[in-house]
């Protein structure tokens, strides 16, 4: 019973629909009905275009419905509607033109139009022109994002049309910029494109380069005889030159089917094995085939018998190369556009080079700040006091772990850093004082023993950190306001944390100068360093001064550890990674002189970044060369090591 009732119902409704006036959008859809139903990416173009360019207000909703697979065709008359699901078997159809409900239909009387992903992308592109005019600026921005993702020639006209009425200044600027890029890629006239290229040739954006690059792309092609007209030839190439080595040229001929393939050694071997009969090939016993000469002889015999392809001789290769012309051909058809793109890219490359130089300098500066931070404590203990402390790196590590532990108790990042810095100073100050009292003071005029003893402390502390905190890296999270970067342009940017470290380095420099030159401790430290006995005679307690100075240097290392921990992961090897560079920084700059340390850090930072820039793929090689360079510089410039003492002081 039920099917019959339904059938009658359908009949009535469909009749009503057919009777109704067919709207303009429906007419367009009907016109391309077959294409729409067939749904192939290759053929669907005209249908989408017809809807999109119809100028009808409903076009957008049709495309949107199409894209989300909500268009249904009524099988009875082939008309298209927007379908709304009521339940799994019944759909409500809505007319596109009127927006009115046509009725409810069982699913089996309808056919869903299911565009595949390729078609959906095409529809999406067509939709962009509507989104460009959408009242919501966010939608317009989305449309621009879509254009940037897939710059399509068909979007050029709608984009241009949408600029006029754009009210939002930011969106308008973006629209104009993308319009220029689209013009470069897809403009209709050569003049128009060249003009756009000229206009964009000062822009450093990656998208500009991405747009220009395809225009200058060339492909090496081989031609028998002359190069046909109509090709945009970049330059002719002669085989055997650097641009086109002989082997490559011949391989090109082989690949384009213009010459027979050469027979390599492996191929000869395979062929001989394949033609091995009665333990011999080409009349040569298998046992003798362990020599090139015998193999060639056997292969020659086989080739003459026609069993294998003949060898290509050098003379034949030369002849083939002579018979052909090689040229690099632009993919872009217009010579004027290609030339303009070449020169624009060259100009951009210049500017990018300058910007990269500036970026590199910033990078180097921040690396220098890190080295300076790592070395400034050492500038006190080693530079001023002359104590070789191999455990200095471990003090940095202790500072970083202090920061980590504090963050376990104080979840607020800014507060935790503010707590950690003085605490790290206190911890490493204590460790430094303890070490000075227990070990170093017994070894003041024994630098080599100091080196070895502090090395013993260093390995003990490292292992201790491993035992307590484990071998995996511990995070030290920076406060939110230190996240992000200061972006100057597409090439130059520097993260806030690096700026903070730079500032911190300057602050420490100031603190160092203040303590050494403006405080009693600094005065006494310098006195004790220069002449311990005399200082003692003046009423200075050298033991106390040494202890405090060493503690101060160690404490600064602790604070530096907190800063470095924010920038790098906290591990037990953290300090060891910096110790050699720190010593180099102090030594290269000149022991006992904070400005020298600053200079040393700057020099090493810039040097390392410079070497990395020359050889970006191989940081190991960069480090190797840097160390060798520093060794040579050190040997040549500071042969005395210490500030070269002159006169009587250098005596006995």
């Amino acid at each position: 019973m039920k099917p019959i009732i339904l059938a009658v119902h359908v009949l009535i409704v469909s009749t009503v629909a057919t009777l109704a006036e067919t709207g303009p959008i429906q007419a367009i859809l009907q016109e391309h009905g077959d294409l729409i139903v067939k749904s192939s990416r290759k053929t669907i173009g005209p249908a989408i275009e017809a809807v999109a360019t119809s100028g009808l207000p409903e076009a957008q909703s049709v495309l949107q419905a199409w894209q989300v697979k909500s268009i249904w065709m009524r099988k009875s008359d082939g008309l298209f509607f927007l379908g709304e699901r009521i339940d799994s078997r019944t759909y409500r159809l809505i007319d596109f033109d009127t927006g009115g409900t046509v009725g409810e239909f069982p699913k089996r009387e309808l056919k869903n139009i299911k565009p595949n992903s390729g078609i959906r992308a095409l529809i999406g592109t067509a939709l962009v022109q509507f989104q460009l005019l959408d009242p919501d600026p966010d939608r317009r921005r989305e449309a621009l994002d879509a254009i940037e993702r897939s710059p399509d020639a068909s979007l050029l006209a709608p984009l241009r049309n949408s600029i006029e009425g754009e009210s939002d200044a930011g969106v308008r600027a973006r629209k104009m910029r993308i319009e220029r890029l689209l013009t470069i890629a897809h403009g209709t006239g050569v003049d128009e494109r060249v003009a756009a290229i000229e206009e964009m040739s000062t822009d450093l954006g990656v998208d500009v380069r991405a747009t220009l690059n395809p225009l200058t792309r060339t492909e090496v092609k081989a031609f028998a005889g002359e190069i046909p007209d109509g090709l945009n030839v970049a330059r002719r190439l002669s085989p055997g030159s650097d641009d086109l080595p002989r082997e490559e040229a011949y391989a090109l001929l082989v690949a384009t089917g213009l010459a027979p393939a050469t027979v390599g050694r492996d191929a000869v071997r395979e062929a001989l094995i394949a033609n091995l009969q009665d333990d011999a090939a080409g009349g040569v016993q298998a046992g003798e085939l362990g020599a090139d000469e015998a193999r060639m002889r056997a292969y020659g015999v086989l080739a003459r018998a026609g069993a294998v392809p003949p060898l290509v001789t050098e003379a034949e290769i030369d002849a083939a190369l002579d018979a052909h012309v090689f040229a690099a051909v632009y993919a872009e058809a217009s010579p004027a556009v290609a030339a303009a793109a070449e020169s624009a890219l060259a100009r951009i490359a210049n500017r990018v080079g300058l910007s990269q130089g500036a970026d590199l300098a910033l990078d180097a500066l921040s690396l220098a700040s890190i080295y300076f931070l790592a070395a400034i404590g050492l500038a006190i203990t080693f530079g001023v006091m002359g104590v070789i402390n191999m455990a200095h790196g471990e003090f940095i590590m202790m500072g970083a772990y202090t920061g980590y532990v504090v963050q376990q108790f104080v979840p607020h990042h800014t507060v935790s850093i503010l707590v950690a810095a003085p605490l790290a100073f206190a911890v490493t100050f204590g460790a430094g004082v303890a070490m000075e009292r227990l070990v170093i003071r017994w070894l003041y005029n024994r630098p080599l023993e100091t080196l070895l003893a502090t090395f013993g402390i260093s390995i003990a502390l490292q292992q201790l950190a491993k035992n307590i905190f484990g071998t995996q890296a511990r995070p030290l999270t920076s406060p939110g306001w230190l996240d992000g970067a200061w972006v100057i342009n597409d090439v130059i940017s520097i993260s806030h944390i690096r700026i903070a470290i730079f500032v911190l380095a300057l602050v420490f420099l100031g603190i160092f100068l203040f303590i050494m030159h403006r405080t009693r401790l600094g005065l006494e430290t310098r006195a004790v360093t220069q002449n311990r006995r005399m200082a003692a005679a003046m009423g200075i307690n050298p033991d106390r001064v040494n202890m405090l100075t060493f503690g101060l240097g160690s404490g600064i290392a602790g604070i530096a550890g907190v800063a470095i921990g924010l920038y790098a992961k906290v591990t037990s090897d953290l300090g060891a990674d910096y110790i050699v560079q720190s010593f180099m920084t102090v030594v290269v700059g000149g022991v006992g002189n904070i400005w020298g340390t600053l200079l040393g850090a700057t020099g090493i930072g810039f040097l390392q970044k410079g070497i990395e820039w020359f050889n970006p793929s191989n940081t190991l090689a960069a480090q190797t060369y840097m160390i060798i360079f520093i060794i040579v510089v050190f040997i040549q410039l500071r042969p005395q090591g210490l500030i070269a003492l002159k006169g009587r002081a250098a005596g006995n």
Partner: protein
Amino acid sequence: MSSLLEVSGVSVSFDGFKAINNLSFAIGDAELRAIIGPNGAGKTTFMDIVTGRTRPDEGRVLWGEANVSLLGLSEARIAREGIGRKFQKPTVFEDQTVLENLLMALRNARGPFQVLFYRPTPGDLDRVHELAGEIGLMDALGRKSGELSHGQKQWLEIGMLLAQEPRLLLVDEPAAGMTPAEREHTTTLLVAAAKSRAVVVIEHDMEFVRRLGCKVTVLHEGAVLAEGSLDHVTANRKVIDVYLGR
């Protein structure tokens, strides 16, 4: 008389301070000479320049009959040329025996390979014993030199200098910290040494200089103030000014 060592127009400054200022000085073969002068007069720096430890900013230092320039030669090379130096503080190799110290100083080939295959000849040992007798350390040959008394170390160092057989001996305050008897012995050693070679002695102690009985050069502010017999220079007005203060 041709001179053995001729220093002319030498100047050197350390960080702006002129330690030696246009100094000229000459000494002949087999001459004993004392250099006196107040602290900071440039006496030790003068020795530093002659022995190659300090490079002068300007001037010439010529050596021997062939007038070889000593500037630019290494300390070791200058020592091999025949200039021996004794430091103010006794510097002997304290971890080694008196015998080893003297053997090392003995005039023999100095290259590492010759030294590696060197074994002392009877002649060498005789010479060492002779020297040990001269410096009064005959009984101490097998002792570590670090165990010697201050004066004995001074003598050992003089013995080492003599073992080098230098043509010029530069001796910096040899009598400092010695007992009167030790001074006596030291004077004898130096006077004897000066019979066959040139000896330059730096000394503060006028009494010691008087006993040496030789020509005296007075240095002041890096230049020669006066030269002559001790009586002559002590009568010099400028010298008195320098020593007593103006």
